[in-house]
Amino acid sequence: MDHLPDRYVLTRRGLVATGLGAAAAASTGAALAQGTPAPAGAPAKPGTLNTAPVSQAGLSPRLTMHAIDNFHGTPGAGMVCDLAMHDGEGYRLLKTVTTAPSGRTAEPLLVDDAFKAGRYELVMHFEAYFATFGVKLPSPNFLSLVPIRFQIRDAGQRHHLPVLFTPWGYSYYRGS
């Protein structure tokens, strides 16, 4: 854990907190330009937590997700995710989405006729996510492209997929 002080110096969030944000943003941006490119629409800093939990009780059957950054203690905003469905031979890409400031996607991953029973894989771009915020990690990082595999057995039920993550681990479960 000897890299902790460096990590905080490198994050814009930490710099903003000490009043050095403007000057640091330029240099941090330059440093980042040499690493993994930030995904389009990525936020400039880790999201802030200023909303109450969202209940989806009573909504129609759908698949939704929520990325939670347990490293910064914020929603996982700007996380690029590739959703694929198993077609019997392999995973076939359905769509690529980027999480909103809330850590959720603007639209359900799947809803209405698109929401079908089957085996799915959501590949989350952890390494690019943390690179966006200038988190100092080994290269390649322990976790980079993380596959989240799950099954929808009954498309008549609403399914929520929360993913709690840090650069060193993650957890997912059938949420609500």
Binding site: P138, N141, R149, F150, Q151, H159, Y173, R174
Partner: protein
């Protein structure tokens, strides 16, 4: 000790998950190449390290945990409650001199992994 080890725990029952097959693969020229398949023992671990210290080298590795047969065979589990689908963990060994313990904590509807010790 360098290398890769794992430990499979059934957090639903609070005990090791025995008899779970694990497929261990390495990324080789852009393709996942199966190195070996092992089965967890009564303690939820493998009898030998997944990757022994003398074979440790940097690279991208994959562990696929075949937990669905484990849960189906477990008494009192409804198949309809199995949400996770044979979790796959992909990780990098970025320093071959370090040890990588990659535990998996699972229940029919949840999965957790991390760099352990």
């Amino acid at each position: 000790m360098a290398g890769i080890t794992t430990h499979v725990l059934d957090t639903d029952r609070g005990r090791p998950a025995a008899g779970v097959r694990i497929d261990f693969s390495v990324l080789d020229n852009g393709q996942w190449r199966l190195v070996k398949s092992v089965v967890t023992n009564a303690d939820g671990r493998t009898d030998a390290p997944i990757l022994p210290a003398d074979k440790a080298e940097t690279g991208q590795y994959q562990l696929e945990f075949h937990v669905e047969p484990y849960f189906k065979a477990r008494s009192g589990t409804s198949e309809a409650d199995i949400f996770i689908d044979n979790p796959v963990v992909r990780f990098a060994v970025f320093d071959a001199k370090q040890h990588y313990h990659v535990p998996m904590l699972c229940a029919p509807s949840s999965f957790t992994t991390y760099r352990g010790s």
